[in-house]
């Protein structure tokens, strides 16, 4: 194995605090991000469970919470969306796995700026604490939804949660923006500047490409969200009128005038749509990686995959208006946004075709990570196909603000991305913690989650077409929705079962970390650089050396090779005598 000496960016820490709390090691920081996201996802999931229970039993008295009031329902809805989008879907795949594996996969000893990396995590942590604090202040959490549309979000007196709770919500988002920008800076610099010898851009694993492109999206999007958030804070606390027109609240004329709520929508969705890809692109990278590895075949169309991701990222910045078809925008603008949105179907189809081409004819190994990767593709297709419906203004007008949209974005942005996270977890936990996850529990977890999530979100498309609005806290007394109550009950039961199945995942994870069977250095017989080093990797990733890369990332089934895969750092492998 060809290696060269390197000088590591920082010495291995000794004390507990520097080693595990304020660590500069990207691997520790990645694990910190992972567990932060794991905590957040449970908070978000419990909130979704409360919503589902309230929807079918609106008058139920719940333990501790009692009777959920409509405004409490909206607070729960807001916090569920915000926590899931920011602290789970953005944090786990990029902050967690990206942090841990990007440097190793490009043969670097650490991130380019380790101190900034540590700051990035702890800033995210502070943002999470601040948003949780909104639950406990007077008035409770805000009720303006994760999109925070003004004027509801821009004034203190519009609802019980719109006082300090809303200020904390915006502050948390602003802090999160700063953290994400620091992270993006690190990811981009590391990818461009710290690749090992021989690791040309087109030898990078597709996971690295996905983290790299996600970081670019984050860099361009979070700055704009930060600017929008600052303006919103000013409207709320300094009496400015960026977003607030002349409004009357509870019979009282407010001091604002002339602002435009649509200005917020433009700025927010300029961030919000790329955010969808920030959540899903790392999942695409992981799916590509795993489909190739477990099919024992090279990825089908490597460069096409890279260009498709770049295309999706580029188009992602040009389609924000499709969230605003109902805002009264010019039909010509809507037409442009519509065409561009449907254009995203092209690179998405390329990716799907290539994923299928990758597993086609392969000797597929159906381990848990592979199951979740296949599940990702399935959900990506199922959730993605309803996209072109909503991309057309004529269809979006009746479907907008119905359960159809909830079903669509949960499948594509929520569950598909979560399947990417699960696939990554099952795939990389052996490397991260040195122990193999339980395969049986993994399969149980997979089937319950796949069937459960489909059972939850597929019927929502029907509910939406039948006219069930989203965000309403109570509809059981509405006559035209009566016949939908049984289906809503079915969804709630499925949600309870699916959430219960996640306990199997948590048990499996923690059992593995402490008691699981030891993993070898390369249990999946994969080719990328993280599998060339010890399990778990040493502080500097490669034990005082850095690999020299000779091969592409997906050299499986190479004719003439002694085994069915060639590691990226393998020098030319001698010909198998059998050939």
């Amino acid at each position: 194995m060809a290696t060269t000496e390197i000088v590591h960016a920082h010495a291995a820490p000794q004390g507990f605090i520097r080693k595990y709390i304020f660590s500069l090691d990207h691997k520790v920081i990645g694990i910190q991000y992972f567990f932060l996201a794991l905590t957040a996802v449970w908070v978000g999931m419990i909130l979704s469970l409360l919503m589902r229970i309230h929807m079918i039993w609106p008058n139920a008295d719940l333990p501790i919470l009692g009777h959920i009031q409509p405004e409490t329902y909206l607070s729960i809805l807001t916090m569920h969306g915000t926590i899931m989008v920011f602290f789970v879907l953005t944090t786990a795949p990029q902050g967690g796995f990206g942090n841990y594996f990007l440097p190793i996969q490009i043969g670097a000893p650490d991130m380019a700026f380790p101190v900034l990396n540590m700051l990035s995590f702890w800033t995210t942590f502070v943002a999470f604490v601040v948003i949780l604090a909104a639950f406990f202040v007077t008035g409770g959490a805000p009720l303006h939804g994760w999109t925070g549309y003004p004027p509801l979000s821009a004034m203190q007196s519009t609802g019980p949660g719109e006082g300090l709770g809303a200020d904390l919500w915006i502050t948390s988002i602003a802090i999160f923006c700063a953290a994400s920008l620091m992270g993006a800076l690190n990811f981009i610099t590391t990818t461009l500047d710290l690749r090992a010898k021989g690791m040309s851009m087109f030898r990078m694993p597709l996971t690295v490409w996905s983290w790299f492109i996600t970081a670019i999206l984050g860099l361009l999007a979070f700055g704009v969200l930060l600017s929008a958030g600052i303006l919103l804070l000013m409207d709320r606390n300094l009496g400015t009128s960026f977003y607030v027109p002349l409004v009357v609240v509870n019979g009282q004329i407010m001091g604002h005038k002339g602002g435009s709520p649509l200005l917020w929508q433009h700025l927010f969705w300029f961030f919000g749509h790329p955010e969808v890809y920030i959540a899903i692109l790392p999942g695409m990278g992981v799916a590509s990686q795993l489909l190739s590895t477990f099919s024992r075949k090279p990825i089908f169309g490597y460069k096409a995959m890279v260009y498709a991701m770049l295309g999706i990222g580029f188009l992602g910045f040009m389609v924000w208006g499709h969230h605003m078809f109902m805002s009264g925008m010019s039909p010509y603008s809507a037409f442009a946004f519509s065409i561009l949105t449907m254009g995203i179907g092209v690179p998405s189809a390329i990716k799907t075709f290539n994923w299928l081409g990758t597993i086609w004819g392969g000797r597929v190994r159906f381990h848990s990570p592979m199951l979740f990767a296949i599940g990702f593709v399935s959900l990506f297709v199922s959730g993605g196909l309803s996209g072109p419906f909503l991309a057309q203004p004529t269809l979006d007008i009746p479907l907008h603000d119905t359960a159809f949209v909830v079903g669509h974005f949960h499948l594509i942005m929520g569950v598909a991305a979560i399947f990417g996270i699960f696939a990554a977890t099952y795939y990389w936990v052996p490397k991260m913690f040195g122990r193999m996850m339980n395969e049986t529990l993994g399969r149980i977890h997979f089937w319950f989650t796949l069937i459960g999530t489909y059972a939850i979100f597929m019927p929502m498309h029907y509910l939406g077409m039948a006219g069930q609005p989203r965000r309403y806290s109570q509809f059981t007394e509405v006559a035209y929705l009566q016949h939908l109550i049984p289906l809503n009950k079915f969804i709630t039961y499925c949600a309870i079962i699916t959430i219960a199945a996640q306990v199997a995942f948590v048990i499996n994870l923690f059992w593995t970390i402490f008691k699981g069977p030891k993993a070898s250095d390369n249990p999946w017989e994969a080719t990328t650089l993280e599998w060339t080093t010890a399990t778990p990797p040493p502080h500097d990733n490669f034990g005082g050396h850095t690999p020299v890369v000779h091969n592409g990332p997906y050299e499986y089934g190479v004719p003439g090779a002694t085994r069915d895969y060639i590691m990226q750092n393998d020098p030319a492998t001698p010909l198998n005598p059998a050939h």
Partner: protein, 248 residues
């Protein structure tokens, strides 16, 4: 499953490209130079820090892109007047203390110049460091102008000048919520000031590294990055003033 036809004349199996064979001499990021002398390592660190700075400044640019688009949209918005039942624009051009702003601009530009001298000075010192380290070689005692200290003082001077601008606006009863034009002026000034204050902290840190007897190459990286950041702040300031002049 290969796309490569096996060839008996080939001694080693060919791998698909994404590139088989020898590592490219051009690519490979920074790893190519690892393990060389310390000077080379500093060169790598400087390049990496500059790259990081450019990326970080992109985020700042996007922040101001957000503000600028908000300003242009907000300025063009008609608002409903209840008394006349008509739509009209409520944007009243802001009356800024231009003389004072001109002085502040001059202070910032001069500070950018002093910063550049500081950057060139430390670059020269870093370049001469290997020569100086040769026993018996002396370049003589050079008396140096405290460019860095001057920049910090001018930076504080600019911030103080901005404080005066805000005082003047206050005295004219042009408050942050008086009109959208004043809201944007306060917003842009304050955001720039916060970023510039960050630069002042960076410069103070750069000065501290000198006192802490850090290696000259290490100090060079800090000062170099601070200098480019400082120049960017000057550029950003000119942009803000121009924006307010044209659209404010």
């Amino acid at each position: 499953m290969s796309t490569v036809t096996p060839n008996l004349a080939v001694k080693y199996p060919r791998t698909r490209d994404t590139g088989g064979g020898d590592p490219p001499s051009y690519g490979g990021g920074n790893g190519d130079d690892r393990g060389n002398s310390g000077a080379s390592d500093y060169g790598d660190r400087l390049r990496r820090a500059r790259l990081g700075l450019v990326i970080g400044l992109t985020a700042v640019v996007m922040l101001f892109v957000g503000f600028t688009s908000a300003l242009l949209v907000r300025k063009g918005l008609p608002t409903f007047d209840q008394q006349t039942n008509t739509y009209s624009r409520d944007w009243v051009p802001i009356n800024l203390p231009w003389i004072l702003l001109l002085v502040n601009t001059a202070v910032l530009l001069v500070s950018s110049a002093t910063m550049e001298f500081a950057r060139r000075d430390i670059t020269r010192q870093a370049a001469l460091a290997p020569v100086k380290s040769i026993p018996g070689v002396s370049l003589g005692d050079e008396s140096r102008f405290p460019w860095l200290g001057s920049t910090v003082i001018l930076g504080f001077g600019f911030l103080a000048g901005q404080f005066l601008v805000w005082r003047v606006l206050h005295e004219r009863h042009t408050l942050v919520n008086s009109n959208p034009s004043s809201s944007f002026a306060y917003l842009l000034f304050a955001t720039h000031a916060v970023h510039l204050a960050g630069g002042v902290i960076a410069l103070t840190w750069a000065g501290a590294t000198s006192l802490l007897h850090r290696p000259v190459e290490s100090r060079r990286i800090v000062i170099d990055i601070a200098a480019w950041y400082w120049h960017f702040m000057a550029l950003l300031w000119i942009y803000i003033v121009t924006l307010l002049l044209i659209a404010g």
